[in-house]
């Protein structure tokens, strides 16, 4: 497919279609309503289903019902809506079904605002809903990466029969950038539907899709099955990018998503001024690429975590580098996006303080 200029939200919708998804259930919320608007036009063209649900509770539980039949399905929302969808995420994880959730984050808490933020990091990575479960969480920094990671999310959801989240901030959803739609990644093997999906029991024993296990030993066993997947993620699904780390940078910045992009601009400008600063950008937020970060942090010796929040990922960064290295933090929140100059200022202040 040729290179196209697309808004992030629309590109995410198209990526789902290119990945083979024909079912989309959603409820409008700023700043990601364009996904629904795009797919309300696009799904009928590919004989797919677009359904505007009565609420995010409804939409996410429609995803649950469709996922149980074994068909690829997804939904998109923004922060307050994701809080409502947390119910279904927990059930989908417990019932071991494939589904993709996209969160285009806006400022919070509460109704918050409608401008970009990263303040749902803890919600996504530490468990939005109740119980012993995790989401596989990807954080794109460009519209192109949002496309690629959305396609990848469908494959990973199928491979692990687990809910996968693509989490961008409002900028990723609203920004227009050139994108290409490469063929989706190879299907790594959906476990045969015969053994788990609820799609008519003719010719085989019935399948029951459930998260209820009243016998504590059986529930614990189900939790261990989930844990085994998460352990695999910590080996096979770690993703990160480093930038300007090859020389001898004086400081390592950690940032994800759009924030990392802004940090790159600040790092480039500092580089022209003769000050070398490296960047570590986690792409998988859960599992968090702790080992790779720790090795880099040990070498560079100074770490500054920059976020569009008052400090959420910084907890994982600190846990990764250990107690001997105090991670510093700079962030703006509530929909305020730090400029490259502000990030530069924060970096220089840190370097001065440590001098």
């Amino acid at each position: 497919m040729a290179r196209k200029l697309m808004k992030g939200n629309e590109a995410i919708g198209e990526a789902a279609i290119q990945a083979g998804c024909r079912l989309f259930f959603a409820y409008p919320i700023t700043p990601q309503s364009e996904v629904a608007e795009y797919l309300s036009r696009r799904m009928p063209e590919v004989n797919g289903t677009f359904l505007q649900a009565e609420s995010e509770l409804g939409a996410s539980n429609m995803v649950f019902g469709a996922a149980a039949t074994g068909e690829p399905v997804f939904t998109t929302s923004s922060s307050p809506g994701i809080s409502l969808m947390a119910e279904a995420m927990s059930y989908i994880a417990g019932a071991q079904l494939p589904a993709v959730f996209v969160n285009i984050i806006r400022g919070g808490p509460g109704l918050g605002g409608i401008l970009p933020a990263q303040s749902d990091y803890l919600q996504a990575t530490k468990g939005a809903g109740h119980g012993d479960y995790r989401l596989l969480v990807f954080s794109p920094a460009t519209v192109q990466e949002a496309v690629d990671l959305t396609m990848l999310a469908f494959r990973k959801a199928q491979l692990y029969r687990a809910p996968v989240m693509v989490m961008g901030d409002g900028m990723i959803g609203q920004m227009m950038e050139p994108v290409e739609f490469d063929p989706p990644p190879e299907n790594e093997g959906l476990p045969s539907k015969e053994t788990w999906a609820s799609c008519g029991a003719r010719g085989r024993p019935r399948n029951i899709v459930r998260s209820l296990f009243l016998d504590p030993e059986v529930l614990e066993k189900n939790c261990h099955e989930l844990k085994a997947k998460y352990d695999r993620w910590h080996v096979d699904e770690l993703r990160h990018e480093t930038y300007n780390c090859d020389g001898e940078p004086r400081l390592l910045v950690t940032a994800h998503g759009s924030m990392a992009r802004i940090c790159k601009t600040a790092i480039d400008e500092l580089s022209e001024e003769g000050i070398q600063v490296g960047l570590f950008r986690p792409i998988s937020l859960y599992p968090f690429p702790s080992q790779a970060l720790a090795e880099l942090a040990d070498r560079i010796g100074r770490v500054l975590c920059v976020e569009m929040s008052l400090g959420q990922m910084v907890e994982d960064v600190q846990a990764a580098v250990g107690r001997d290295l105090k991670v510093r933090f700079f962030g703006r929140t509530g929909g305020v996006v730090p400029s490259p100059d502000e990030v530069k200022g924060a970096i220089l202040k840190q370097l001065e303080a440590d001098a």
């Binding site: 429609m62 019902g65 469709a66 039949t69 059930y91 899709v209 459930r210």
Partner: protein, 266 residues
Amino acid sequence: MSTIFSPPRSMTENITHYCPGCTHGVIHRMVGETLDELGIAGRSIGIAPVGCSVLIYNYFNVDFQEAPHGRAPALATGAKRARPDLIVFTYQGDGDLASIGTNEIVHAANRGEKFTTVFVNNAIYGMTGGQMAPTTMPGQVTTTSPAGRDPALAGYPMRMCELLSTLRTPGYVVRTAVHTPQLMVQTKRAIRRAFELQMAMRCYTFVEVLSTCPTNWGMSPVKALEWLQENMMPYYPVGVFKDPDLPETQKGLVPTPLDHQVGQPE
């Protein structure tokens, strides 16, 4: 010797967990018989609620999904839209459907989703131990209305057939009961009609069945049947509120008598 009566093939031989005198077992059996008679068990999906019948999947040789509290209509919507070739039914109680899941049921019905809802109304929360439901009768004592439901504080019981019948879309809305043999026969007929309408992809189908809960009502099974007749029947009239093959009467607010329902022998 020939077999003249046996359990439905679409049901398992598991012993149900229901209390003595509970009518869930009878209603389960009617669903099972219907799946057998229509030959659809192998291409059906049941959606279980949260409540006493959460374990309904233990009793059917049918693929099942277990929904969060109140969300069965949303799961059924997702499943039916994903696989329109399958038969999808939900089985919900009154706390599940008329309280926490009111939004989901109203909108699924209003979209005209092509699945079947079996709604069992026993005017109380059973599994959690007899709390007041939206369907609890005025004056009825429950563990959260120890002095009896006070309509001044809790409002009057919600009548779901009447509520859904004010919507234009839903095609088949019927209320029945199972406390007499005649009503059981009519309930079975209504459930079968609902599945037939779904098989023809004609409309959303909703069958409410008035039911007893001797345990949480605090009375014997026989007394519970009498209580249902005396207290619930006047407030919750049985009948066909909507049927695509019957002329609509007063926007569905006045039901057609059950003995005029489609499929009734002449």
